[in-house]
């Protein structure tokens, strides 16, 4: 709570400074002074969320303005009383460093839906349907470029989403348990097992804990998924990029 109190006080101080001096227009410097502590010097996120992906969705300017102005209730993101000009400068800076809006899609979304159902839905969910082992992909196209998505599909083990790292546990009696890691500390590990159950283990009860290099997801090379099927799949995922019915700030379903 002290953090919020401090942040609110800081907001008031900034406002007071703004009243005395003409509004500043150096968005990059304003960002570094006021936002970087939580959102990272490169805006790619630290304690607070990554802000460089906001512009993949429509209406990002307005949403960013509004969030900075009003803060996020119940979080440490405080409301700002800074002049509109300064908030606009910060938003302009964020837009300038943001990942470009997703490129035009050439594939067929309807065919892509069948590709998803046949290859992905066992482990991934879209809008409440599908499996649980992998990340929910309902909004993935709003936060990842086609290039990144293509790599993730073609070479699944190249990187793992946080909360979905594959692990193998061996119990004292030799039983092997595979799953994705939701949390871990020196003494315990919490996973979703292959049956989709949330399970915690104390390391004292385990013989080994292995962070697997190989994803639970198979590599979808061109032999398994043609370029045109991949384009169709990307087109299908892109359909869900903007979800006005969903509240922009909800953080759920990302396993963390």
């Amino acid at each position: 709570m002290q953090v919020i109190g401090w942040a609110l006080a800081a907001g008031v101080t900034l406002f007071a400074a703004g009243v005395q001096n003409p509004p500043r227009s150096d968005g990059a410097a304003l960002f570094r002074e006021r936002c970087a502590d939580c959102h990272g010097a490169d805006a790619k996120g630290a304690r607070g969320p990554d802000l460089t992906r906001l512009w993949m969705n429509d209406g990002a300017d307005e949403r960013a303005m509004s969030t900075i102005r009003t803060g996020v209730a119940g979080s440490i993101m405080p409301p700002s009383s800074a002049p509109d000009e300064e908030i606009r400068a910060i938003v302009a800076y964020l837009r300038s460093v943001s990942v470009a809006k997703a490129e035009a899609i050439s594939g067929n979304a309807t065919s892509g839906e069948a590709v998803f159902a046949g290859n992905c839905a066992q482990c991934h969910r879209i809008n409440g349907r599908g499996g649980y082992l992998g990340p929910d992909l309902s909004r993935i196209a709003g936060s990842q470029s086609n290039q990144v998505l293509t790599r993730a599909i073609r070479d699944a083990s190249a990187s793992f989403a946080s909360g979905y790292e594959p692990v193998t546990l061996v119990t004292r009696d030799g039983r092997q348990i595979r799953g994705t890691r939701k949390a871990e500390d020196a003494f315990s590990i919490q996973i979703m097992d292959m049956q989709g159950r949330l399970r915690g283990y104390e390391k004292g009860d385990l013989r080994t804990v292995t962070r697997d290099q190989k994803s639970l997801m198979p590599d979808f090379g061109t032999d398994r998924l043609s370029d045109s099927s991949l384009d169709d799949l990307l087109a299908y995922l892109a359909k869900f990029r903007i979800q006005p019915a969903r509240r922009a700030g909800d953080t759920s379903g990302d396993g963390r």
Binding site: G71, A73, G74, R125, Q190, E202, T251, R256
Partner: protein, 531 residues
């Protein structure tokens, strides 16, 4: 119910059978399965009494901290008011500001987190940003929100499956209650009775969020109960009567019991002359239809914000030499009530605090009021107890309740009524120097006080009891405490660092160990005996 063979085989405790896919039958079993805690009170009876016997009066002094989970959010000046659910080794917890978590019940480590993006113009929800917990059915969790919505979350991920509006938060509504799932219905209440709003109790379809029925706690013009209000249709649209504490359920008679809140304006009653049904009442409802079976009004024409938002405690006790099925409430107005739960008739009503508001009830259950509080001392606006759950030991026949001894003068004042603005109708002068609190054991058959343990200030902690004869309570100074249920002897305490306020302890058996869990401030913590 699915049996978790894998967990049992790993840890060699085959007697522990978790619940994976919550069914109505699981909830009927309630705490008979001590490795599950599936509703706010642990079971439908509202007794908050566990059959576990590992922690006893003899060994409770050895209780030690096992883990803490810092939630990073809190409701300043209030408490961590939720009771976690335990399903298949995972604690599902809601917190202030509509955060929620799935925690490994053995280590407190998180599987997932959820946070609702709330609007910045909340009304009641802004001043009281609390939540009292999840309801559950199947693989879904149900949660109410400060902008007066009801959500279904996916148990595996915390993703929102559906989201429906209960009421318009902008006029003063909020929702903080832990939903009660009865059969195939999610029953939820509403907050906001300190604003010009009209309370209700609702039932929703778990699969879709479609509303099945609504019962307004303030009747419409011409409906039964409307004769207890002035002849003013406008007044009946904002008469209060919130339903923000989880009720209880009697499967045998298929009856849901639920408490209702204060009439509005809270302190100023001149423009709402009459008893103001169904405010400050216990309502007995048919959960299938939303039909009112009976009501019992504790405080007719309340002028003190003495909501009857309490957990109704269902039990079978001997009273006047006869075995009776009863519903019990220790009320904010200072009386301990025992009602026949099929008729709502008063069987016993005795003060459990030193109130000078009324010292006896008439045969019909109406209080004989001697002092409305405009001249001198009666229980303050928080009452002789409040929404913190009591517990009941059916073997000892004792109800354990956090009692508040307070003294206040009420200053009612006519107020301009504006939607979305508090309408308390006056102020309260509280004399805090004389106030104190106590955990009290009340003999349910007689209403007599068996023992008490005094707290420094009027406290707000809920209570848990166990079959081993241990009572767990807490105080505003932050102590979590264990007592001998028979004698009230203090056995153990732990300073949590923030008032234990509104929340109540819960307990469960996991891998052969009994855990005790409480929320305090921004933190959830667990205790157990050393290995």
């Amino acid at each position: 119910m699915c049996v978790i063979a894998s967990a049992a085989s790993v840890f060699g405790h085959a007697q522990e059978e978790g619940v994976t896919n919550v069914t109505y039958q699981d909830m009927l079993n309630g705490l008979k399965n001590p490795s599950a805690w599936l509703t706010y009170s642990g079971d439908y009876s509202g007794q908050r009494h566990s059959p576990l016997k590992q922690i006893t009066p003899d060994n409770a002094h050895r209780l030690s901290a096992q883990w803490s989970f810092q939630t990073e959010t809190m409701a300043r000046g209030r408490g961590f008011e939720a009771t976690p659910l335990l399903i298949d080794g995972v604690l599902y917890v809601t917190g202030p500001n509509n955060f929620a978590w799935a925690l490994h019940a053995k280590t407190g480590r998180p599987f997932w987190r959820y946070r609702r993006d709330l609007p910045n113009n909340l009304t009641y929800g802004a001043s009281v940003p609390v939540n009292r917990g999840f309801g559950a059915l199947g693989d879904r969790l149900f949660m109410t929100t400060l902008d007066a919505h009801l959500l279904a979350l996916d148990m595996k991920t915390g993703s929102v499956l559906w989201d429906v509006e209960l009421a318009d938060y902008k006029i003063g509504h909020s929702a903080t209650v832990a939903p009660l799932v009865v059969k195939d219905k999610v029953i939820v209440g509403i907050s906001g009775g300190d604003y010009p709003t009209r309370g209700f109790l609702d039932a929703y379809e778990p699969a879709t969020g479609k509303r099945i029925w609504r019962f307004y706690t303030v009747p419409a013009p011409g409906e039964p109960g409307s004769e207890t209000w002035p002849d003013s249709p406008e007044l009946l649209t904002r008469g209060g009567g919130g339903t923000w504490v989880t009720g209880s359920y009697d499967p045998e008679s298929n009856t849901v019991y639920w408490g209702t809140g204060n009439p509005n304006p809270d302190y100023y009653g001149d423009e709402r002359k009459g008893d103001n049904l169904y405010t400050c009442s216990l309502i007995a409802m048919d959960p299938d239809t939303g039909r009112l079976k009976w009501h019992f009004q504790f405080t007719p024409h309340d002028l003190h914000d003495w909501d009857a938002n309490h957990v109704p405690v269902l039990a079978e006790i001997t009273i006047g030499g006869q075995r009776r099925k009863v519903v019990m409430v220790a009320n904010r107005n200072g009386f301990f009530y025992v009602l026949d739960r099929s008729t709502g008739k008063l069987l016993l009503g005795k003060p459990f605090t030193d109130t000078s508001w009324a010292r006896e009830l008439g045969p019909d259950g109406r209080p004989i009021v001697v002092n409305q509080g405009t001249r001198g001392c009666i229980p303050d606006n928080w009452g002789s107890t409040n929404f913190m759950p009591p517990s009941f030991d059916p073997v000892l026949g004792l109800l354990f309740v956090t009692a508040r001894e307070t003294c206040a003068t009420f200053v009612p004042e006519k107020q301009v009524i504006t939607p979305g603005r508090f309408s308390m109708g006056g102020t309260v002068r509280r004399e805090l120097d004389k106030a104190y609190g106590a955990l009290r054991a009340i003999d349910a058959s007689t209403g007599e006080r068996r023992w008490e343990f005094k707290f420094t200030t009027p406290s707000f902690a809920g209570v848990l009891s166990t079959a081993s004869g241990v009572v767990i309570g807490g105080d505003n100074e932050g102590n979590l405490m264990a007592f001998d249920a028979r004698t009230g002897e203090h056995l153990w305490h732990y300073q949590t660092g923030y008032p234990i306020w509104g929340g109540a302890p819960m307990t469960y058996l996991l891998d052969g160990r009994q855990y005790l869990v409480i929320g305090s401030g921004s933190t959830i913590m667990a205790f157990a005996l050393p290995r």
